[in-house]
């Protein structure tokens, strides 16, 4: 494995998917490298969410395959992708409102004692520590606060903190800004930049072209299940992106 290969995290090879005979993804090829933010753009029905679900193992593709750090992998469930280090943050953030911030961060991956009892103290302290490292998060006085009492931005921060704590290599975000205020959106993108500096990678599916343009390193524009544009940030203008998305 050479140095160039080592930087590759997830490679998508000729992925295709049909629902009821209708093609929703066709010949999708790209790679996600270490320490980059990739924006997946496109209009409704372009196949963005289906693509995210393929990348995290919720949907199995009909054709093509995925490679993780150069080795072919098959995701049969979301647990398979999580085990490799891919954290997916869906639109609902996959949080349970009636549980505390700490319990949510560690849900299904709890810190336990050797006898299998929950180590509440460690979970509360660890979750507080990881949240305190994030930018622009205010109002979570204690990680024993219920998630149902948090704002949209705070919930997003908790979901990202979960990915951070478990040291996931790639974070997939499906429409992360759809329910966020302007300030919370700024905080989210600042956090993604911080993650990039720590060599984490992010993939954002979004309608928010303007904000994505400021933060992403690379753009993939989908239309009717196909990639119609894939360019580095420094090789594309905002106008060109808008043109491709709206034409799609």
């Amino acid at each position: 494995m050479n140095n160039q290969d080592f930087k590759k995290l997830l490679t998508v090879n000729d992925i295709g998917k049909k629902f009821n005979g209708i093609s929703v993804l066709e010949s999708i090829n790209f790679t996600i490298n270490e320490g980059e933010i990739v924006g997946i753009l496109g209009d409704n029905g372009a196949g963005k969410s289906t693509l995210i679900k393929v990348l995290c193992g919720v949907i199995e593709p009909d054709s093509g395959f995925l490679e993780w750090q150069g080795a072919k992998v098959v995701f049969q469930s979301k647990n398979d992708s999580t085990r490799l280090g891919i954290e997916t943050i869906f639109q609902d953030n996959a949080l349970v409102d009636s549980m505390s911030v700490a319990r949510n961060i560690f849900l299904n991956r709890e810190i336990t004692t050797r006898y299998g009892f929950l180590s509440h103290k460690k979970m509360v302290e660890s979750s507080a520590e990881v949240l305190s490292k994030m930018t622009g998060i205010k109002g979570i006085e204690s990680t024993e606060k219920l998630v149902g009492e948090l704002s949209g931005g705070q919930k997003q921060a908790v979901a990202i903190a979960r990915a951070l704590y478990f040291k996931n290599k790639i974070i997939l975000l499906d429409e992360p800004t759809s329910a966020l205020s302007v300030r919370a959106t700024d905080a989210l993108f600042e956090n993604l930049k911080d993650l990039r500096n720590k060599n984490f990678s992010s993939v954002i599916v979004t309608h928010d072209i303007y904000n994505a343009f400021n933060v992403c390193d690379r753009f993939i524009v989908l239309s009717k299940g196909r990639i119609v544009l894939m360019k580095q940030r420094n090789l594309v203008t905002l106008e060109e992106l808008i043109k491709h998305v709206s034409r799609a």
């Binding site: 469930s77 979301k78 647990n79 999580t82 997916t88 869906f90 609902d92 953030n93 996959a94 949080l95 349970v96 409102d97 009636s98 549980m99 505390s100 700490a102 319990r103 849900l107 299904n108 709890e110 336990t112 299998g116 009892f117 929950l118 509440h120 103290k121 509360v124 302290e125 979750s127 507080a128 520590e129 949240l131 305190s132 998060i137 979570i140 006085e141 204690s142 990680t143 024993e144 606060k145 219920l146 149902g148 009492e149």
Partner: protein, 330 residues
């Protein structure tokens, strides 16, 4: 700055805020008032008499243990209306086997297995056939009651356990019946499981947000199945203890047990929509439900008052939790 346990005050505040502390205060207040009246008017209101206390400690576990199972299932986002039918079928199985010469322990074991199987069938109907649990268990209620009559007939079955070990289901220590200790043990185990084991978090998650639970990889079907099985098992335990206490099992009994258990859970703060609730809340809910029955009996109120008061308590509890929850969100 975000604080964890290192700063006690916010976390302690949140713990208190989300606990069943508010309903506990109400419960203690009501008990203190009742005890005071019992002491001041011992003839008219013998609340503190030995007979009333020992009756309460015998009767409370029967509804409490069933409510524990129903409550855990409700936290997981499902219902079991068949607990009364399960209670009768399992205890009848035990009584008939014991009458036919089976040893006490194997008869009890057969009742427990019966409860476990009936709970599993509810889980299969809900989780594999994808029928809402309210409907599925409404259906199995009829099937289980009919099964009792089909296998064991319509006559009541006597059950008078004797021998060295019968003490574990019939004994008492002063005013404390053995079933009261069984209830305390089961509630303690329930509390450990819900608050201190990963499974408890999974129950709350699948009940609180099904989609999120799937997204983070919780095995929803397995988690809910465990809750159904536990509910069935606890219904059978209650049936065993009830049969041992009254020395008899009636095939037509316990028809309103499920609704009483659900009422106890609602009064104790278990959300009908799943995801919220505590073991302490279930205990207090069951205790309050028994308390109202006890007080009305002691006051000599006509029987129909009881259902009216229970109805008022359910509606008041639902309003109280809605009010306090809205206040908490603000």
């Amino acid at each position: 700055m975000i604080k964890g346990r290192l700063s006690l005050s916010p976390s302690t505040q949140y713990k208190l805020k989300y606990s069943s502390f508010d309903i506990l205060i109400i419960f203690i207040f009501i008990q203190v008032i009742s005890v005071a009246f019992g002491l001041i008017f011992p003839e008219k209101f013998p609340f503190t008499s030995n007979i009333n206390i020992s009756t309460a400690l015998e009767a409370l576990p029967l509804i409490g243990i069933v409510a524990l199972g129903v409550g855990i299932l409700m936290i997981s986002g499902e219902f079991d209306l068949s607990v009364g039918a399960n209670f009768v079928f399992s205890s009848m199985t035990m009584a008939v086997l014991y009458s036919n010469g089976w040893p006490l322990w194997t008869s009890i074991l057969a009742a427990l297995i019966s409860g476990l199987i009936l709970g599993s069938l509810n889980g299969i109907a809900t989780l594999w056939l994808r029928i809402p649990s309210f409907i599925a268990t409404l259906g199995t209620t009829g099937i289980y009651f009919a099964g009792t009559l089909f296998f064991y007939g319509a006559a009541a079955e006597p059950f008078e356990p004797i021998g060295n070990y019968s003490f574990v289901i019939t004994g008492s220590f002063g005013v404390f019946s053995v079933e009261f200790f069984w209830m305390l043990i089961l509630f303690l185990l329930g509390w450990v499981m819900l608050q201190h084991r990963p499974l408890g978090g999974k129950f709350m998650a699948v009940g609180g947000n099904l989609q999120s639970s799937i997204s983070i990889g919780i095995n929803v079907r397995k988690t809910k199945m465990i809750a159904f099985v536990m509910c069935g098992l606890l219904a059978s335990i209650s049936g065993i203890l009830a049969a041992a206490r009254v020395n008899n099992v009636s095939p037509g009994g316990a028809s309103d047990l499920a609704l009483q258990a659900i009422a106890a859970c609602v009064i104790g703060g278990i959300s009908l929509f799943g995801g919220r609730g505590s073991i302490l809340g279930i205990f207090i809910g069951a205790s309050l439900l028994y308390w109202i029955q006890d007080v009305l009996l002691l006051l000599g109120a006509p029987g129909f008052y009881l259902s009216a008061f229970i109805g008022v308590m359910i509606i008041s509890a639902a309003y109280f939790y809605r009010f306090t929850r809205e206040r908490k969100i603000k």
